[in-house]
């Protein structure tokens, strides 16, 4: 998993069935110091945890599909935590 800053939203009318009703966020992966590392990703947010400007923890692997209630989704990046503090 990685830390990330939510920098945007993606709106899409036509998309696969599993992604209906699921927010798509644009997330810039960062280090805990805040330094960006890697290019921005589109990350699914089934739990409706985050919005623009939030720091989140994202899981980037096939485990991301398990962030969905059905456990099945064609995604490999999902928001799993909204970060309060990193200490």
């Amino acid at each position: 998993m990685k830390l990330g800053n939510v920098i945007g939203n993606v709106w899409a009318e036509r998309k696969v069935k599993q992604l209906h009703g699921c927010r798509l966020l644009v997330v810039q992966p960062i280090q805990s110091s805040g330094r960006p590392c890697g290019s921005p990703l589109v990350v699914a947010d089934p739990g409706r945890l985050a919005g623009i400007g939030d720091t989140v923890v994202i899981v980037t692997s096939t485990d991301a599909a398990q962030a969905f209630d059905s456990g099945v989704a064609p995604v490999n990046a999902a928001v799993v935590e909204l970060v309060d503090i990193i200490q």
């Binding site: 998993m1 830390l3 280090q31 799993v80 935590e81």
Partner: protein, 92 residues
């Protein structure tokens, strides 16, 4: 799996249920000579590690589901072991 040093702890109240009651850390991968290498990762603790420990991290897809016996576990990187000692020859 990789060696890593635990740098910081991630505190969060709004999260996926699989993360409830678990400690989440920022880990910095290190070489056997404990020098930092590469970018940090976020890992879920399973062995009671704390900040400053050298640990073994890693995990295959779906492993967290078995390890934590959860229905759904969107967790990839696990902290599996707290390292006491490393013997190693020189490496490139």
């Amino acid at each position: 799996m990789f060696l890593a040093k635990i740098k910081k702890r991630v505190v969060s109240t709004r999260k996926h249920p699989a993360y409830n009651g678990k400690h989440v850390f920022v880990v910095q991968p290190v070489n056997p000579d404990l020098k930092a290498v590469g970018n940090e990762w976020v890992a879920v603790d399973y062995v009671g590690a704390s900040i400053g420990d050298i640990v073994v991290c890693g995990g295959a897809p779906g492993v967290a589901q078995q390890v934590f016996q959860l229905d759904y576990a969107p967790i990839r990187t696990l902290i599996m072991a707290i390292v006491d000692k490393i013997d190693f020859r020189d490496f490139q």
